[in-house]
């Protein structure tokens, strides 16, 4: 058993998940868990074949519920570090050793793989960029320092964050909300530049129709997060 666990949530990603696992194994000495979130294709079989530990959820929970399963698993088995990587191949495992190194040096409780902190070759649509700028502004107000790529799903976290996430993780669209959650718990976020590739297969879970709901939900979540206090009275534990 290694001290770092890669968590790959996957919903019907049979085309890409095998390659992603193989690339991660070549890149760094880590354990890999794939959370098949109610997949109806061969995702679980392909992932098992590629050498990952596979947790198959009997029904679809959505990205937050699936991701938290990975954190629960990491917490129970006592992993020191957990890494989130998408199953669609857009995160390059070549960046993983460097991100893990930052975490091991305790430069941040979460190391965030970012497309924007330096010039990388990633490009996205105009409407998507506007949305991201809006969210980044809101997050900046909430945490007090700039985080450039708030929606990046490429993340390395340490033991403290694993413990926190095993207790609470947002159900849907968790990426941005989590940043403010960490800030409230006085945990540090370090943003480092990574390469993002075009996804190998599948489409983004955020379509144009869902964009408005996405913006509304995430903004509300950030504002609510700002209204919470960590050590106050009441029934709030996370």
């Amino acid at each position: 058993m290694n001290d770092a666990l890669v968590i790959i949530p996957a919903l019907n990603e049979e085309k890409s998940v095998g390659d992603v696992i193989a690339m991660i194994k070549r890149a760094a000495p880590v354990d890999i868990v794939v959370i098949s979130d109610g997949s109806t294709d061969r995702t679980a079989a392909v992932a098992r074949q590629a050498g990952a530990f596979v947790i198959e959820l009997p029904m679809n929970l959505g990205i937050g519920g699936a991701m938290q399963t990975g954190y629960l698993h990491a917490h129970r088995l006592g992993y020191q570090y957990a890494i989130q990587i998408d199953a669609d191949g857009q995160h390059d495992p070549a960046d993983l050793p460097r991100m893990l190194e930052h975490a091991r040096n305790d430069e941040g409780d979460m190391v965030l793989g970012s497309r924007y902190v330096e010039k990388t070759s990633y490009r996205s649509s105009a409407s998507r960029r506007i949305g991201m700028v809006l969210l980044a502004t809101l997050v900046r107000i909430a945490v007090g320092y700039p985080i450039y790529d708030t929606t990046s799903g490429y993340r390395v976290v340490n033991r403290r964050v694993i413990e926190l996430f095993s207790r609470y993780y947002p159900i849907d669209y968790p990426e941005v909300e989590v940043l403010v959650l960490l800030h409230r718990h006085k945990l540090r976020i370090l943003e480092v530049a990574v390469e993002m590739k075009e996804r190998q297969a599948g489409v983004s879970s955020i379509t144009m129709v869902k964009s408005a709901y996405y913006m509304l939900k995430v903004s509300l979540a950030i504002i609510l997060e700002m209204l919470r206090k960590t050590s106050g009275k009441g029934r709030l534990r996370t």
């Binding site: 947790i55 929970l61 629960l72």
Partner: protein
């Protein structure tokens, strides 16, 4: 036959239904208190509707039965808010259950593989001993 009689009859009928649902354990007591409260308040106010008039005057409601409907509406708002809170709790619980089930199943598969591996080794040892 006026509106108060209708509301009173409705309230009685409603209370009987709610009580029967609780009797048959189709409705849990904790979720029925709101309904019982609403039924009783509507029943009392429609039977003793002379109490409504001063209250309606106080609130500048020209048509006193409207107050009855307002009270009913407010109860419904309360009930619906309560329901969504309960729904949220149930959602979070079912998510955790699905997570636990998935993890337990995965651990079971892993254990089965280990057992098969060990049994295989045992088998190999025996054949070695025999040889």
């Amino acid at each position: 036959m006026n509106v108060f009689v209708i509301v009173a009859l409705f309230a009685v009928f409603f209370l009987i239904i709610v009580t029967d649902l609780m009797r048959r354990r189709v409705l849990m007591e904790q979720y029925s208190l709101f309904w019982l409260g609403m039924g009783l308040v509507l029943l009392i106010l429609s039977v003793f509707h002379q109490w409504l008039n001063p209250l309606a005057d106080l609130l500048h409601i020209a048509y006193p039965p409207s107050l009855l409907f307002l009270i009913g509406f407010l109860f419904l708002f309360g009930i619906m808010l309560h329901l969504t809170v309960v729904l949220t709790r149930l959602t979070l619980r079912s998510i955790r259950l699905v997570q636990e089930l998935g993890m337990t199943k995965a651990e079971m598969v892993q254990m089965q593989e280990k057992i098969m591996f060990l049994e295989g080794n045992q088998h190999d040892n025996k054949t070695i001993e025999r040889a």
